[in-house]
């Protein structure tokens, strides 16, 4: 106890507690090992201060956690910590590798869809939707017509909310997105150019982007109508005009909200839910080769999808 009263020790403990609580407050995204390797925690600090600092960090974590704050009135949030975090969020910089985790939020995760709410389909779109045979979800069918299960590209926008990581790289003229899924990439021109006239429809379309305050706004046209908007078979036409809005509310998070404007497929323009992406760090920040290989898809369908769906094996 006497040792703890020494000012230098007190400072060391409090600094360590602050670091640890920051680590705890990031929802245990990193384990102790990665925290050690990243330098957030040091082995010496862990050994010397862990018990005391844990208690302090626990207190901070409990006060900040939604579970513990139920029934409390105005649980104070650490303003200085927030300010520091905001300062660390890079301005006009989306660079990083992000992943779209389920998070227990509807529309997040593997069976993703732009909007949890019903979307206003035209008769043209409704007919396509009714004819679609999804490979996932409530209408899942073994003889699916989902284009991606035939190794067609997911296309824009569906690739954006697939639960595999993508990396954003910025150059002065372009923002690139590299997707692990299908190993595809897209470019968003930021040099002030407009969309070319008479675009030939493609899977990824033509994208131009600009910053509006802290929001990166991407405008895309020139998409073909071969891709679905989601795993459930919501269609779009070649008239699709997509406007994506990206923000970084904190250093670890990227959000996307987009507008679907497609008069042939939807009676009104509609907004997506907000999609939330987590920055991958350290050992998690890797992307590997994930091509869609028809033979691999077929083998998986035969051994897993078909029996799971109730079709006899062989």
């Amino acid at each position: 106890m006497k040792r703890c009263l020494k000012m230098s020790h007190f400072l060391a403990v409090s600094q360590f507690a602050e670091k640890l609580s920051s680590f705890v407050g990031r929802a245990f995204r990193h384990d102790i090992k990665s925290a050690l390797s990243s330098g957030v925690l040091t082995p010496e600090g862990l050994k010397t201060h862990f018990p005391l600092a844990c208690s302090a960090a626990m207190l901070v974590a409990i006060l900040a956690s939604p579970v513990a704050s139920i029934g409390q009135t105005a649980a104070p949030k650490s303003k200085p910590a927030k300010a520091v975090e905001a300062a660390q969020t890079p301005a006009h910089d989306l660079s990083g590798m992000y992943e779209f985790f389920a998070r227990g939020v509807q529309g997040q995760g593997i069976y993703n869809t732009p909007s949890a709410n019903p979307v206003p389909m035209t008769p043209w779109a409704q007919a396509k939707y009714d004819a679609a045979k999804p490979g996932y979800g409530p209408k899942a069918s073994v003889d699916t017509t989902d284009p991606i299960l035939r190794c067609n590209p997911s296309g824009i926008p569906r690739i954006l909310y697939w639960p595999q990581p993508f990396e954003i790289v910025q150059t002065p003229e372009r923002v690139f997105m590299f997707f692990e899924h299908e190993r595809v990439w897209r470019q968003i021109w930021t040099d002030g150019r407009r969309h070319p006239k008479d675009l030939e429809p493609t899977w990824m379309g033509d994208s131009i982007g600009k910053w509006e305050g802290d929001t990166f706004v991407v405008d895309t046209i020139g998409l073909n109508d071969k891709s679905w908007l989601d795993a459930y078979g919501h269609p779009h036409s070649e008239e699709l005009h997509l406007v994506e809005r990206y923000r970084r509310p904190d250093p670890n998070t990227l959000t996307l909200q987009f507008t679907v404007d497609d008069p042939k497929a939807y009676t009104t323009r509609w907004e997506s839910d907000t999609k939330i992406y987590t920055l991958l760090r350290n050992k998690q920040a890797v992307m590997e080769e994930l091509f869609c290989i028809q033979e691999e898809e077929d083998a998986f369908t035969k051994r897993i999808r078909e029996p799971a769906a109730g079709r006899p094996i062989n």
């Binding site: 929802a27 018990p51 844990c54 626990m58």
Partner: protein, 129 residues
């Protein structure tokens, strides 16, 4: 000993914070995410392949018959980011696998957790968040 209580508290809090996502998987309709099943048996095949990692397990049922289970999870890359490796399992290994079983009652499941013979647990990335 005196250092252990805070560690226990940290673990308890971490459980409280992640449990909201633990049971929140948006399941493929083919799988029953309301009734997870735990199977125990011998690995016959471990496939570290796209699109999804697969574990095949021979499980003895109540009648003493061997049932051949097919279990799948995410892509190898996603499994790697969750702490799996391509040689984490091999034929002959004893495993306990928690799955969302197929609604068809075929012995097929979507993996939620694997416990190895040495007690090591392999989860999925969504659990880690």
């Amino acid at each position: 000993m005196k250092g252990k209580l805070p560690i226990v508290l940290v673990l308890m809090t971490s459980f409280l914070m992640v449990q909201g996502t633990l049971f929140a998987h948006h399941g493929n309709a083919a799988y029953d995410d309301k009734a997870p099943a735990t199977i125990k048996g011998t690995v016959t095949e471990f496939l570290w392949v796209n699109p999804h990692v697969q574990i095949y397990v021979d499980v003895k049922n109540e009648q003493g018959e061997i049932v051949h289970w097919a279990c799948e999870t995410f892509s190898p890359s996603k499994a790697y980011r969750s702490g799996w490796t391509k040689d984490v399992l091999k034929p002959g290994d004893q495993v306990t696998v928690t799955v969302y079983p197929a609604k068809s009652h075929a012995p097929v499941g979507f993996i939620r957790k694997v416990v190895l013979a040495n007690g090591k647990e392999l989860g999925t990335e969504e659990q880690a968040q």
